[in-house]
């Protein structure tokens, strides 16, 4: 197995065309209608081949699918991204607001002069 060549039993991806542009459904937007409907599926190679070769794979469900070898040991590279500047301050600002709101509530409560509890701490101990 290399980046360009797989052997039988390797986990690979094949690509194939499901519908050529002239076979596609009516009523599609023009940009979509101009393209073939393509598909990609992963499976165990049933024979060796080079990238671009037509080979057959056995998928997880056990189907045998023919297509052009498009990737060998296909992985995933999507990430968490980086913190966008527009997002970075949201937590800090929201926490500050909640803190200020609660402090104001307590201050308002005190100035209203809440009645002491009948058996408050002072009376009890």
């Amino acid at each position: 197995m290399s980046e360009f060549k797989c052997g039988p039993g390797d986990w690979v991806e094949v690509e194939y065309v499901l519908l050529e542009p002239f076979e596609r459904a009516a009523g599609l937007p023009e940009d979509t209608a101009a393209q073939p409907l393509r598909a990609w599926v992963k499976g165990f190679a049933l024979a060796g081949g080079m990238i671009g070769d037509e080979i057959e794979v056995e998928t997880h469900s056990g189907r045998h699918v023919r297509g052009h070898l498009s990737a060998i040991a296909p992985g995933y590279t999507h990430t968490f991204g980086t913190p966008p500047a527009e997002i970075a301050g949201i937590g800090r600002d929201a926490r500050a607001r909640v803190t200020a709101y609660r402090a104001k509530g307590e201050a308002d409560g005190a100035s209203l002069g809440e009645p002491p509890l009948p058996n408050g701490p002072e009376a009890g101990e």
Partner: protein, 477 residues
């Protein structure tokens, strides 16, 4: 440029579509024909109960499948954030049902557990579902537990083979659970290939819109009613539901009613993606939300039977009391705030209802209770940071400002302050009229609706026969 069609030659697409009825009859696991009453009406409740599972049965099946019983959390910090700018006396208590705690990370496990139960019960060797959403992960996870084969058909890439990171992540998780994922380029013919695969494999079509799938969400509504009553002494005054195909609204509302919460207001919410064409190769990667948006929410509410089943069990207009839309930027703001204020890092799509709930709660009295009925998992690809990085790379402008200025596909405007989060109210009357126009258009030409049809349309639009008569007359002017 117009495409040339050779009308005398039947294409592979047309041949497969012509055998749709035959393939689906075997693949659906039930016969829908017995519920048809006329070219317009069908027996909805009869169809919903034909599977024979009571709510208790469903809960038993789901418990055995490791699904449901998720935590209900009060969001005191989010509530106080809203109260910090609400008028005095306003600012409802906000709660969330943490559905991300389900095995595959979303409420979709409730649907999938029922589909897989039916598949196993009826002796199918595998299941097939067409979905770009969390439902694929849920079906794959449940199929793995049940030892069934699973194929997920997913619209993944544009014609350049570029995939939205959220969709790519959903491919990954399906494969992680042992599903075969057929990744496709943009186009509604996804359904054609699903039919081909159903025909070739003999598997069950685990449609999102089957009666058993939608019934599976009723347990969520029932849990909300029971848990809120235990926590606050009463069912919630409002439940906010992220709305796409309609199953979430339908199942949740039905479950609430079954549990006796008949006065709870059902508020559906979607991300506004108006102006973007869902079948367009170029628009495909100009949206940051792959579900919970108006591109599904409006067409499915106004014509539910566009689904991959003869009659859709998800009929949102029956149940929604209000329909709110929010912008992508507002949901991203709320996703970040939820994480920082409540220690809940969850996926953006599920937070659509959270953004709408913050806007709603601001205008409600402080003793009202607003429940956001789901969250979804997040992670690489689904995370709002990666969504925004991808949007920028596609040429979408991302900036801070007033979210009311955002234009789907062109700009994402992140609120600078939480009071800028303002959901927009959709006109349900207009959506009801649109539904009735669609129902009439799908009946044979010159078909005259009978009094029974009028009653059905009134039920299907949560309206009255008199209003339906008026709408029919209006439609025919």
């Amino acid at each position: 440029m117009a495409r040339k069609r050779v009308s005398s030659v039947t294409t592979r697409y047309e041949a497969v579509m012509a055998s749709k009825g035959e393939i689906m009859k075997r693949a659906l696991g039930m016969d829908y024909a017995e519920f048809e009453r006329s070219p317009i009406a069908f027996d909805y409740e009869g169809m919903m109960s034909a599977h024979g599972y009571s709510l208790d049965d469903i809960r038993r099946i789901q418990r055995a499948a490791g699904v449901g019983g998720t935590p209900l959390l009060e969001l005191r910090n989010i509530t106080d954030l809203v109260r910090s700018y609400a008028e005095p006396g306003l600012g409802a208590r906000i709660f969330v049902k943490d559905e991300a705690a389900n095995m595959a990370g979303s409420f979709k496990d409730r649907r999938a557990s029922m589909s897989i139960h039916v598949a196993a019960d009826k002796g199918f060797a595998g299941v097939i579902a067409a979905t770009s959403g969390n439902y694929g992960a849920a079906v794959a996870s449940q199929a793995a537990r049940a030892g069934l084969a699973c194929i997920i058909c997913q619209e993944t890439f544009d014609s350049r083979h570029v995939g939205q990171p959220e969709i790519v992540e959903k491919s990954r998780i399906c494969e992680a659970f042992g599903a075969e994922v057929v990744q496709m380029s943009v186009g509604p013919e996804l359904f054609f290939h699903m039919l081909e695969l159903l025909g070739a494999t003999g598997y069950l079509s685990a449609s999102l819109y089957s009666p058993f799938g939608v019934s599976g969400i009723e347990s969520l509504g029932a849990e909300l009613a029971e848990e809120m009553t235990a926590l606050t002494g009463a069912p919630p005054t409002h439940v906010v539901v992220t709305h796409a195909g309609g199953g979430n609204t339908t199942g949740t509302a039905r479950g609430l009613k079954r549990a006796g919460a008949t006065s709870t207001q059902i508020v559906s919410a979607s991300v506004d993606l108006s102006g973007l064409h869902m079948a367009s190769d170029t628009d495909f990667n100009r949206k940051s939300f792959t579900t919970g948006h108006t591109g599904f929410g409006v067409p499915f509410a106004t014509w539910p039977d566009r689904a991959d089943v003869p009659r859709n069990a998800a009929r949102a207009l029956r149940y929604m009391d209000r329909y709110l839309t929010v912008s992508q930027g507002e949901v991203f703001y709320v996703t970040e705030a939820l994480s920082k204020l409540e220690g809940l890092e969850r996926g953006p799509s599920g937070n659509t209802a959270m953004a709408a709930a913050m806007s709603l709660a601001r205008d409600l009295p402080s003793d009202a209770t607003v429940v956001v009925q789901e969250t979804e998992y997040t992670g690489a690809g689904k995370h709002h940071w990666s969504q925004l990085a991808f949007a920028r790379a596609q040429g979408v402008e991302v900036r801070a400002g007033d979210p009311a200025e955002s234009v789907p596909g062109k700009s994402i405007v992140i609120p600078e302050r939480p009071e800028q989060i303002r959901a927009k109210e959709s006109d349900l009357g207009r959506m009801r009229r649109s539904y009735i126009r669609n129902a009439l258009a799908h009946a044979p030409e010159r078909y005259e609706p009978t009094p029974e049809d009028v009653v059905f349309l009134a039920e299907d639009t949560n309206s009255t026969p008199a209003i339906v008569e008026e709408m029919i007359a209006f439609t025919r002017v």
